[in-house]
Amino acid sequence: MRHTISRLSAGSGLVLTSAAVAMAQVNPTASSVNEEALLRALQSGEAVGGRVSIPNTDAGALIAPDNQLWAAMQGTTLPTLSIVAVLGTLALLVLFYLFRGRVRIEGGYSGRKILRFNAVERFAHWMLASTFIILALTGLNLIIGRTIILPLIGEGAFGTLTAWGKIAHNYLAWPFMAALIMVFLLWVIHNIPGKIDLEWIKQGGGILKKGVHPPARKFNFGQKIVFWAVILGGAAMSYTGFMLLFPTEAGSAADWQFYQVIHALVAAGMSALILGHIYIGTVGMEGAFDAMGTGEVDENWAREHHSLWVDEVKGTQARNNARATPAE
């Protein structure tokens, strides 16, 4: 009996020993996933992820460290660049104004008017301009409003203002795009760069010195630059903006972040450009605003800045007059 027991205990001891050996051999974590290894193997823009049992499969992305890169971009880099673009341009314009002053009509007002932009052209321009200004201000507010406006009016009022701004930004994007197409169709024919533009570049646009007026047709080379920058920049804004509005079309989160950065960078560039455009169309040059105001410019202004265009218009007028004159 005792023998049996000792044999049994010896046997059980043997079983225990072999179990211990087996446990030492089978490492329960040998193939286990490990956070550090997964993070190290991660490619740029990727997330450590897996399966979730809820319907939203996007929730399977567990850790996406690169989202922090975009956060730093949106939180620090883009606000800095936007402020530099806007304030830098304003400072340059003030300096330019102090240096050059207002560009006067050297011949003075002649009192004779020439139609420069008809009602359709002015409608397209002002639809583009008014929507752009609201889009630019509401967009800028999303980037730097919390630094500049929030401390002034408080969190509650700023939240309400920005919520309305967001709605305006989302909905006015569409008339902006419509106006962009209109402006493109109306003016593309006048904005093809030509040989005459070389002369304009050589004379620095005539803007730095008094009495220098390079010849130009309906649009000079500076205006052509503005035109193409607005068309291409506006197209980029429209495309990226569409992706931001419809994130399910944009693709992954990393794609959306890419579109957002492009949107903000192009917006900063366009804001700087348009500030310059507004300057030269108002305080910077005498007689310039009439072109988009009443649509009619003074003949002396037109001769100084768009000499060849005046000849074209006058030529057409003369021909029309000639045709209208009854034969005697």
């Binding site: 730093a72 949106q74 980037i143 929030l150 969190e155 972040q257």
Partner: protein, 198 residues
Amino acid sequence: MARMKFLCDADRCIECNACVTACKNEHEVPWGINRRRVVTINDGLPGERSVSMACMHCTDAPCAAVCPVSCFYTTADAVVLHNKDTCIGCGYCSYACPFGAPQYPQTANFGTRGKMDKCTYCSGGPEADLSAAEYQKYGANRLAEGKLPLCAEMCSTKSLLAGDGDIIAEIYRERVVTRGYGSGAWGWRTAYGETVSV
């Protein structure tokens, strides 16, 4: 004051989803919003691990860095909360968050997301503690009652830990030393810039 953190010991998580259910029930979270979810990595393969994840209440929270209306704030317990009255539902925080924490009550297109909702570490929002308005917008405020987040409190395997970062890190460290393995303090490196060294 404590520096509150979550730590999910994935070597103990059995993907029962009770933390998810407890969270939904405690805060009466609307359908479609998941303040917490369980992700299974290498599902069905040897060595698969499940991680319960919610807002990690980051140090230098990226959501707060991108919020256009600055609706985020950090409490004395280092919990990251937000003000739904200020939130404009732009969605930026969801693109900044490495953990997919921000949730929205509506579909995502055309800026119609609605006010953002996320894990509050069971500590409500800017409204008065334990008020009806706070419960309606943010859910229960267990911290104000001296309790820890429910998800961790009722975790059957004590995989999900909540509490002061130093204390739960020490518990996890002891576990790893005792059993001889650990798959890591998931999300810590990303959220706090440091992990639990064993």
